[in-house]
């Protein structure tokens, strides 16, 4: 059994749910973590999990909200402060859930969570595998989260060949959403 930690917000929600659509039931329980300012995402997750429960009887999932680490176009200095705050917030949550696998696809929300997981790994508490999937929108350049997590994730997946060339450590599987 693998505890999966899924991080997303807004437009990324549809993408992450597509990524999850073919996963076997061994990826359970699923813990969804998303920015607290996001309403529609919660509804989409619940509906996804409801459909899943129709096929798999033992479906387990939880939903957790964390403060958004950065608003679109937020300034650098205030971003650092809000991100630190988000890390402090997500550390106890990550410690409680102790995921084996973290799956994220791009929103700023995933950076503090991944950093928390890395800290827990460094402290010898729990080592999670971090898998980052860059959004399909990213054809030629990486998102800010991507640029950071390219160095900190275990597996970094891109969906367009240009990015694979620019970032050789990444994994290219074609279009997966």
């Amino acid at each position: 059994l693998t505890a999966v930690y899924v991080i997303f917000t807004g437009g990324h929600t549809t993408e992450i749910l597509r990524l999850l659509s073919c996963l076997s039931e061994s990826y359970s329980p699923r813990h969804y973590v998303f920015a607290d300012s996001d309403e529609m995402s919660e509804a989409k997750i619940r509906s996804f999990e409801q459909k899943r429960a129709e096929t798999f009887s033992n479906s387990q999932f939880t939903l957790d909200r964390i403060p958004r680490s950065r608003e679109v176009r937020q300034s650098w200095t205030s971003s650092v402060v809000t991100t630190l705050y988000s890390i402090l917030y997500s550390l106890p949550l990550t410690y409680k859930l102790k995921p084996d696998l973290i799956l994220c696809n791009g929103p700023g929300t995933c950076v503090p969570v991944c950093i928390s997981a890395l800290l827990l790994g460094l402290l010898g508490i729990k080592r999670a595998i971090i898998v980052y999937v860059e959004s399909i929108c990213r054809v030629e350049t990486l998102s800010l989260s991507g640029k950071i997590l390219y160095y900190f994730s275990d597996y970094f997946i891109v969906q367009w060949p240009d990015l694979k060339e620019k970032y050789p450590k990444s994994v290219y599987l074609g279009r997966i959403v």
Binding site: R18, A43, I129, S135, I136, V139, G174, V177
Partner: protein, 104 residues
Amino acid sequence: FRFKDSLAEDLGRADLVISHAGAGSCLETLEKGKPLIVVTNEKLMNNHQLELAKQLDRDGHVFCCNCSTLVETLQSMDLSTLKPFPPGQPEKFALFLDKVVGFQ
């Protein structure tokens, strides 16, 4: 309307879709097999929306234009030249993840 839970019904009935370059809008429309014209506004948009719109245009799946060239595009377009957009394959992701996690 401002917000609807799903545009699926409206998309199903449309013969042509003219949209901004949001990834969700573009992909959803292309998956329904509807001809799509993407209108970009380089001043307002985040760069990454533009990247996807341009790539889709290069690959022949959509017609890309901006607000000022929209009328011209509508007049001169040939929808039959648009190529179908193959669906993404999340199964590949599942297979990859199974290997990574050791489920094989």
